[in-house]
Symmetry: C2
Subunit: 372 residues, 2 copies
């Protein structure tokens, strides 16, 4: 089957670009001498995870328990659930552990840490938990200098397996120098937290950091044991503007059909709207705002110049451009591809990838796991 034969809208994954992106990250992480733990929150696919972990020993990270269960069923044994745990989810986590999965949890909360220890006593589950610290994103994680950090560590006791932090604010960087600085703060914060926990006698074998920009551009990861980037696998319009990749590295696009033409307004419509692209507007804060996505031709090239999805209703994408659009070749039914702002959100609207390699032949269909 070829691209032009697929029902639209659907999600296209270019395996050649994926493999190049994986090789670039592998090399960057290896240079810093740490393990790569690919974060599967973006791809949510066992086939992608197999490629991303090939030759790597660092396991995977996931963003939901549904992902943990899916990847466990697909044979992955070393899984970090990298979102703060709540007590009500401990039974599901314990079920995974008792099936032989080395599932690691995350907390930044003394009461939750105590609840984990109590759950372990009550059920016999050998929970492993990383203490989350804040390296400047101010989303989640503890102050590395706080007394509470030690309180969480003490409450966890033998369940403490290390520390983790996430420099999500690397997405705000607009230069390599800024990313390097955030990466160094991320590293130093994680290492300092590990040292504090070790100073009170707690084992902290894992020192986990990571975001795509900092994993690619950290100058040193001394004291760190692993990094957890995710979006690097696919790249998107936002990442390629902040130094994580080039426009040619974008591996995932949405295949859509032209469903209407409005030549007088220099606009056309496609069957990829807010539902097919997501309503993510990441590039609104990037150097170049691409609306709800950049419109490419069926080959994935800039056949429409700077055309972008300017409005996104539920099933209608309204495409406009600064230059006149080529209405002479824009028949209803013509296929285009849309590069997403934020591929994690766009891919989540689909249950599968149509995989292309070496042109426009669809060589595989890979499933995704969505939901919770």
């Amino acid at each position: 089957m070829r691209l032009a034969d697929l029902p639209t809208p659907c999600l296209i994954l270019d395996r050649d670009k994926l493999e190049r992106n994986l090789a670039i990250m592998s090399a960057a992480v290896r240079r810093n001498g740490v393990a790569l733990r690919p974060h599967m929150k973006t791809a949510k696919s066992a086939e992608v995870a197999r490629l991303a972990t090939s030759g790597e020993a660092g396991g995977i990270a996931v963003s939901t328990l549904a992902e943990a269960e899916y990847f466990a069923a697909a044979g992955f044994r070393d899984i970090l659930y990298a979102v703060a745990m709540v007590p009500a989810k401990l039974d599901r986590a314990a079920a995974l552990r008792s099936s032989g999965i080395d599932l690691k949890l995350v907390t930044d909360d003394p009461e939750t840490a105590a609840a984990v220890a109590a759950h372990a006593r009550a059920t016999g589950s050998d929970h492993r938990v990383l203490v989350e610290v804040d390296c400047g994103e101010h989303r989640s994680g503890m102050d590395v200098a706080s007394e509470a950090l030690l309180a969480v560590g003490r409450a966890l006791g033998r369940h403490c397996s290390g520390v983790m932090t996430h420099a999500g604010h690397s997405y705000d960087c607009r230069s390599l120098a800024e990313i390097e600085e955030v990466a160094e703060t991320e590293r130093a914060t994680a290492v300092a937290a590990a040292e504090r926990l070790r100073s009170i006698g707690l084992a902290t074998p894992i020192v986990s950091v990571g975001s795509t920009p900092t994993a690619l551009h950290a100058r040193s990861l001394a004291g760190v044991t692993e990094t957890r980037p995710g979006v690097y696998m696919f790249q998107d319009l936002f990442q390629t503007q902040i130094g994580s990749g080039t426009p040619e590295s974008m591996a995932v696009t949405v295949l859509a059909s032209v469903i209407g033409r409005r030549a007088a307004e220099n606009r056309f419509l496609i069957d990829a709207g807010g539902m097919a692209l997501s309503k993510d507007r990441s590039t609104a804060s990037a150097p170049r705002d691409w609306g709800f996505g950049l419109v490419l031709d069926i080959r994935g090239e800039r056949g429409f110049g700077d055309a972008m999805v300017e409005r996104a209703n539920q099933e209608h994408g309204i495409v406009g451009a600064p230059a006149p659009l080529p209405f002479e070749r824009l028949a209803v039914g013509m296929r285009v591809r849309v590069a997403p702002n934020h591929v994690c959100m766009t891919a989540a609207q689909y249950d599968r990838y149509h995989v292309i390699a070496g042109g426009d032949s669809v060589v595989a269909v890979w499933e995704r796991v969505n939901g919770w």
Copy 2:
């Protein structure tokens, strides 16, 4: 099972509120003497469709062929696929028709109209098509005064079943008077288009209009045969600000757990982020901007004042408020509910509803159809 026992995040549907919303729309449409064709793009659920069509004779509208197939399998026979057709989708449409579904299609394109007629000749499928006209939204649809309108009608010939229009720009109205004016333009445009097609001898039995604001507030629908509102069933933070409902009418919320607290910043975190709420920012253009959603207590009441999801990362919702948050009762694991900006987008992140009625008992689980 009770709300507090459900895994989070998950989607909650209050059946009592749903039924009140349905009754209000039924009465409004009946007052205008037209048929109600509920648009199932919001609910995407056979159980909701059965309630919404109870006592109504107007069939349903859908936004994808996947919906059409799902509702056909659930026993619905009169289905309008209300997004512009493309030739490559005609085989799927024909398969539905040949299984006994009275599927109606939409086009505003002369070449597509010709392709429909050619497909009908080649396959024997008796396609029924509504000509889409533009009543001021400027998204899709033809100019009612254009020659092209008649060209589409002629190309369709005996496949022409009427006209349709959608006053999506009613969402821009901020007063009842404005909505009434848009509703009158919607009505007059559809009726004028039908009259032009009838003047060249084409049957146009269906004159279809509709959006939630105009369906509720139209003063007259003379000449119209049906209206197709959808979001009225559930309501949301946007609709309740533009006169479609009250805050108490919001029937769908996301149940979430507190996963972190940052008292020094007057913020807490929940496990409903961009993936669980969608990245829709509809209320950015409403009188009151609710970020990514209004945070309610587990009873669905304003127990946190004006708290809202200010930032939405993939699985982290960051909640802030203008007044001090009650950290003394905000334990990790505590349940809250989030009222969505735009319920069509939020509901689409889930494959089912947990239905409550008369309190916090979960009385049913209703599936949804997503994708294409």
